[in-house]
Symmetry: C2
Subunit: 435 residues, 2 copies
């Protein structure tokens, strides 16, 4: 019966059976010490018996093996225990050294990222690397828990679409049985239609952007959380839902896997249940005054303003998540609702200096929406996608709003990584389609 | 404060505020009866006051409105209550009739499916249609619950890949910033690599198949549950996990949303915790004897054999889920493990006549795997995807296995739909890229 590395304390002074990978091997004072890795962590074993030591001859890191051994207390060993009197068995011998050393933290310096991904299959076996994706899985679980508790229904919308023109970003095109098709850049039209069915829906899935940008913020394939909720009283209700979601997820994450976050030196969160809200104009003005810069030509927030306002809110409001509200009309998509001639009912959720989500109320009035679509240069009569979309409005959609929330960005900022690619198992960018 | 339709019984003899869509309107004995739909169902209201009746003039199904009314017991009304003394307010007027009637079950006859999808944006507002996708969301939640409880880590692997040649099905190709790319037909190579990190991983996501088949079983975009688990003792351990997963999901689904399943006339499950297992050869022989047919030329199970063996097992074993084991080597993929010269360590999970998943053990031995890849006509040295994949084996992967489990098929068979497309919100096939 297999025992996992994190269960050893329950088996003190017993002989147990473990299975895993050889993770480290060293000679110390005439003894052979090895670390065995399994899905729960590592355990140290001391091997004295020559016959057992011989079995390890030529065996490299990654060798799959079993250990039967006696669990002894040892405060200096990982997990506070150590295996003695061990019997080894090699299940899958590995005779070549790993291409990178995986028993110490791997370098994430910008100049080393290519090496990191080049050896991804092995590098992820590093305990710290694995923790990033253990945390990512945990964050997704918490997000779903919150949304289920708030009556959201999970949907899957198609990624192969006739037209993906809704979002503004460039799209990947492909041949679909002889017809032109695109890869969806978001479930925008579909999730709004689904408000007419379930009122509250969400989707977690891939989105595709053919943007030829090579920054620390861009990927050509991202994981998005898309939320949409109907029968809202006002835009503030959508902001509250997204705020409560982030607060819940960050708080619970530190409760449930704070240990792993701590191992990765993730910054402890500074959050309040109510995130401060500043209008875009206010932020420009505050930043301008604080930094003696002229921001009057800027429409959007600059990356530096995003960093600055989060730092400001952290110090001033005790909260490093901020809503930048009243986004300018110039940035508005056809499906957003205008607040007035200047601004849209739309806000950016900023966290630790990065925009995680744009959170608008949608234009739900059929005639207004048609005007906005036309103003965006789209002929709704000529496009089947819009015929389908508009049908939902023609037959009644309530006031609604939602957001596209970047999961990769959340993981990056939760842990304090420097580049969004580090938060993705196998990232895709303009230069990288592999591994 | 908004009250939802399913909460009315708690507000008997009180005046409440509801919001929703006009779902039905009729005159009966001089009174106006309307049904209001919200995300929890429908509620009936009786309108006597002429002023209120007038507000509904010209208002069609889909009109978004609020109702303030007194909750009276009424056994003949849906939910056992009815609203009296109502005050209406129209929030979003709808003046055109819906393109299809949505207050009775919609026809799912094969000849009506195109109409069903043509009007998908409105048809999904039919309570029965919506239940299909409420159940689908519930099934996904249960699947995740089971897998979390069994120590699986959720991953997201890229859908844009350099080479998607691993699975056999035809792939969609696209231009990726000037380089050729494909859409992933499964996370096969990635999930196996991830066994080296987490031992147990799963992914729920889209997979793309450019198969020009127009059957009731085929889609060009499907939702797959991919599972992979390491350190297995034998192939049976993988079968057990998949069996326990299906048993858990089906059983809990009937506990948690049996009411909705019943409304859709879903067949009640006939399952045992241990699914019967018959080898492919046995099934051919049993079917041959029972039906006086010669099956000696068949390699795979025919669709009729799949139906027959599930019926047989339902009657004979009291279980309508069956494993067809010892799949022939002729069907084997390069990453499967051979059992002997004839058969692979692979089984099909059949449920109610349909294959839900193929459940193989993988070839984890580096040298054997290279031979099998070469035998499949692939040069592993020339292909970056395989270099990455093989790296994981070269540096030690334990015995492992898993499956690709069709979520759309599961939904179809749970509910007893006749075509996989009915289980998908916006299905994609050779003729359909819209809505």
């Amino acid at each position: 019966m297999r025992v996992l590395s994190n269960e050893l304390k329950q088996h003190l002074n017993q002989t147990v059976h473990l299975e895993g990978w050889l993770h480290k091997k060293r000679l110390l004072g005439g003894l052979t010490f090895i670390n065995l890795r399994d899905r729960k962590g590592i355990v140290q074993a001391v091997i004295k018996d020559k016959e057992e030591v011989d079995k390890l001859k030529g065996m490299q890191i990654g060798t799959v093996m079993t250990i039967d051994g006696f669990v002894a207390e040892e405060p200096r060993a990982p997990g506070g225990v150590e295996l003695h009197e061990v019997k080894l068995e090699i299940s899958v011998p590995v005779t070549q050294e790993p291409p990178i050393e995986i028993d110490k933290p791997l370098s994430h310096k910008p100049e080393n990222l290519d090496t990191l991904f080049e050896h991804r299959a092995i590098g992820l076996r590093n305990l710290n690397e694995a923790k990033i994706f253990y945390i990512r899985s945990g964050l997704l679980r918490l997000i779903r828990q919150f949304l289920y508790e708030h009556d959201f229904v999970e949907i899957q919308t198609p990624k192969l679409v006739a037209n993906a023109a809704e979002g503004g970003a460039e799209v990947f095109k492909l041949d679909y049985f002889g017809k032109p098709a695109s890869l969806a850049q978001s479930p925008q039209l579909y999730k709004q239609v689904m408000v007419g069915v379930f009122e509250r829906v969400f989707e977690i899935g891939p989105a595709f952007r053919a943007e030829p940008s090579a920054t620390t913020r861009h990927l050509s394939e991202v994981t998005m959380l898309d939320i949409e909720m109907g029968f809202i009283r006002d835009h503030g209700e959508v902001l509250n839902m997204v705020q409560d979601l982030l607060f819940f997820v960050v708080t619970k994450a530190w409760e449930q896997f704070g240990h792993e976050l701590g191992d990765l030196k993730a910054p402890e969160p500074v959050l309040k249940p109510e995130f401060p809200r500043y209008s875009m104009k206010q932020i420009h003005q505050m930043y301008q005054e604080a930094n003696k810069l002229d921001m009057s030509a800027e429409i959007d927030l600059t990356p530096d303003e995003e960093r600055w306002i989060c730092e400001y809110a952290k110090d001033h409001d005790g909260c490093e998540a901020v809503f930048a509200t009243d986004l300018p009309n110039a940035k508005m998509k056809f499906y957003h609702m205008a607040k007035n001639d200047d601004a849209a009912l739309s806000a950016d959720l900023l966290f630790r200096g990065l925009e995680l989500a744009t959170v608008p109320q949608r234009e739900h009035r059929y005639e207004n929406l048609i005007s906005q679509i036309k103003a965006a240069g789209i002929d709704p009569d000529k496009d089947e996608s819009f015929r389908f979309y508009l049908q939902a409005f023609k037959h009644g959609l309530p006031p609604h709003g939602g957001c596209g929330f970047g999961i990769d960005r959340l993981v990056e900022k939760m842990i304090g990584l420097g580049n969004i690619k580090e938060a993705v198992l196998f990232p895709r960018d303009i230069n990288r389609l592999w591994p």
